[in-house]
Symmetry: C2
Subunit: 129 residues, 2 copies
DNA sequence: CCTAGAAATGATAATCATTATCATGACGGG
DNA sequence: CCCGTCATGATAATGATTATCATTTCTAGG
């Protein structure tokens, strides 16, 4: 059975995530939460996983293999340079409409999506390319 | 300076990738290539990285943290279940048009994109959800 | 064709984010 | 208040990826 209310850890994780402007890593989250309450790193990971399955939190993976998390309300996407690794945010989500129509047409329950463009930023494409 | 032609490893990696129907991991690629020529795992990773920077190969990261690679021509996307981890392919890429227009409007050189929906597949949403 | 410097390679060790384990603590119904 | 269940924290283990470094392969001259 799905749990009825959030655990202490889940509450803390979600609250901190909702305060962030940008997606952050589990480790960073751990550091932030620890300033306010006793918590273990494993618990942060467990809470993130649970919140993902509840459709409250989404994730993306950086080029360095770090997973970043954010609240689903924050529907942000990036163009990421394969050379220097920098990420440049898009102004808007190009999938607003599509996701809605998919939610109806499919038997799959969609919670969130990831969309990211990869290539070379201007400086990097000028020099190395 | 950008190298002019592909190295032996890059050629092998790209050739094998183009034969695949689905994205595969670096380790799997390593196993496949080793059947035909002497190669090291590190070299496979190096070739994949180089091919990515050339816009020939793209990547995505599974829920288990494995990175999968495929030739860019193969523009495939998935809906992935956060519970059982299964991935269900989409019929078409919903971004065909958008990517083209972005390629012109932006100073960022786009090589490829990733798009993935996450949620619960029907079986999983019935039981656990 | 031969040679020296540069680039690529393979074997191996090291890294490090994430997971698994397990003993302990909190919780909720009876 | 008591017991079974779930949550938690500390710590060890995992495993994909990366760094290292000695060796081999290329390449551009000569
Ligand atoms: Mn979006
Ligand atoms: Mn696509
Ligand atoms: Zn760049
Ligand atoms: Zn499922």
């Amino acid at each position: 059975m799905t749990q009825v209310h959030c655990t202490r850890a889940q509450t803390a994780v979600l609250q901190v995530l909702q305060q962030q402007r940008e997606p952050i890593s589990a480790q960073a989250l751990y550091t932030l939460i620890k300033q306010q309450q006793r918590i273990g790193l494993a618990t942060v990971y467990r809470a993130l996983d649970a919140l993902k399955r509840m459709g409250q939190v989404q994730h993306r993976v950086t080029l360095t293999g770090e997973t970043l998390y954010n609240a689903v309300e924050q529907d942000r996407h990036y163009m990421t340079c394969l050379d220097c690794g920098q990420s440049f945010p898009l102004n808007t989500c190009p999938l607003k409409g599509l996701e809605l129509s998919l939610k109806h047409s499919s038997s799959f329950t969609i919670y969130y999506h990831t969309l990211e463009f990869f290539g070379l930023c201007e400086p990097c494409s000028v020099q190395g390319g």
